[in-house]
Symmetry: D2
Subunit: 202 residues, 4 copies
């Protein structure tokens, strides 16, 4: 493979990028001046050097000058009685950016496939248990997964796995509320959404 | 205007139909045999003859042999302690088809525009009040509007208008629950949905 | 089936209309006043009474006062040395509306399926031959089918079927030109379009 | 700006990439191991080192071992009596990949904006003239621009600019053929496409 083909293969791994667009990226780079390419190249290496995975919530973050192995959310103040468990980094980003939540996070690293034997290899359930064991501040765990069959299954799975520890430490477990979301039109709602909206009326 | 143009104008009023499709409907009818057209023509007239508006919930229904001025939901048994207020007939159909609700309905006939003087001319708020005044079975009114600014505004409007009567008759008012709906992905959720989902966690 | 269900079934046959929209049409009609429904009903019957199929080009048209069995295009002046063969009424409408063509038409009544035995039952090839036999004005037949495999196959089929008669009567056969169409971007063109565009460069 | 923000800005310049996807690219890179990032970084620099712009057709290409300043199409055999003038590198790629054309290319570097004073600064019209002046093999120039107003305008512009030289050197100028392209349905065709298809029937 020549350099064009090699780069195309790499860009194809980028999220949402297919063969055709990967190739357009390569031609775009050939077309831009050397300074642009060198800057991009340098920043990619710096990004990896500067970023590490938080020892507590497991998200990726820029270490910057801190030299801490904790991300800014885990090391800063904020409500440490709340722990929101999410699937992935971008879910955390989305909640954090909304400004509606002031607690801590834990990134599970995936959803639990409904048909799967070795679940523990896929998600950080042991890391979650260990973290809870060493932490006496947490009063409530909020399970915050997308509303689809796999998210539902993961919700149940985590609840079961944590049964013992939340009982022992007297921690409450909750899941995000369900019902109408922004833009939901009654006429076109599915049965589950209507059922949740009716059950959770207030 | 010739018959093709006249019919095109009429079909353009059908929900979701533009000029081009309206015209295709006319050509479709020219193309079909006469029996088809006569059957359609006859059924349209029959539909109007057989249908009337329910005196209690205000939806349109087929009178059939009953000769009653009440629709089957209003005249049948079912939980008459619950009254769900919806915007339009198709919302009622959607909830009814889901099989999750066994109570009565009231069709408001529209949402309240946010900028509008003569609201009362637009929705059946007086009819709703009169109905409640004459009914001692109702224990809870469920406001079930689509989740958008106009739906929100209508929710508030109806609550205000009913303040006195629900107090006097000791009726509870609730609104459909809000939060994640089927298919909601955390990463792409808007702030309002996240806020509702967090607030209504359980 | 009650009237609502019967009408829904009929509207489901309308071009591009599914179950859900068919049902919305019925509720829309229940909701409109009787005058609207009666007018629609009456116009549908009138449309069928006033429309007939042209004895020459086979399109459907409004007979109006003329009492002729020929449509306005076939009976009017215009270039009767050109005959454009199209698949269906709406193709004729589209060409006619563009104002680029002043000749006559023939509606084949369909495309020829690539895998099919009894082709003659499906398209009006015999009617086309008979029409040509009785007509000495035509100098050129223009085959105007959509550019897809079935359209291509129909083009070949008609050319073969007409071989003898066009030779005998010294009629030219042509097909619509191929190449770039409005909006075609070179970068995203398929090979066939590029090939036609290159071959037909001028 | 921190490294995440800087990289996001750079990815936003990539073709077809907006703010949100640019940010997803950055998180994707943080998430991948260092080897992946280093490989990508290295290949980007190599790509720029290995690529140069062809001295004749002006496309970007990998120099590889050749050390020639001509790309493989310009230096290889092939029909050097044909010169296809295209807007950009990806147009050339598309035609070349189709395998329908065996001649040479010239990349104009853009389309000529319809309202613009200093056109010459935008496209390589002088380079094209100079190239033609020094080349006695070319017998036909094929203008191959996308079929939109700007492409049309560029076609006319290039024809005017080359009037003198093609006359002097007896070179033919042609443009890609127009008409139905793959998938065109007669019923939904625009007037220009119908007009071209009719005019170019054969």
């Amino acid at each position: 493979m020549n350099t064009i083909e090699k780069l195309t293969e790499i860009f194809k791994e980028f999220p949402g990028i297919g063969e055709r667009q990967a190739r357009r990226f390569v031609y775009f780079l050939m077309f831009k001046n050397s300074a642009y390419a060198e800057n991009l190249s340098k920043l990619i290496v710096e990004l990896k050097k500067e970023s590490s995975q938080c020892g507590e919530c497991f998200r990726f973050f820029l270490t910057a000058k801190t030299k801490s192995n904790l991300c800014d959310i885990c090391s800063n103040s904020g409500d440490n009685s709340l722990l929101m468990v999410v699937e992935k980094d971008s879910d955390l980003e989305s909640v954090q950016k909304s400004g509606i939540y002031n607690g801590k996070y834990f990134i599970l690293g995936g959803l639990v496939p409904i048909v799967e034997k070795n679940t523990k290899n896929r998600v950080r359930i042991e890391e979650l248990k260990n973290g809870l064991g060493a932490n006496d501040a947490i009063k409530e765990i909020i399970l915050a997964f997308s509303l689809n069959p796999q998210g539902d299954y993961t919700d149940q799975y985590v609840r079961e796995e944590l049964t013992e520890i939340v009982k022992k430490k007297n921690i409450k477990i909750s899941s995000l509320g369900r019902g109408l979301s922004t833009g939901t039109e009654l006429e076109y709602s599915d049965n589950d959404t209507l059922k949740n909206a009716l059950k959770n009326r207030q």
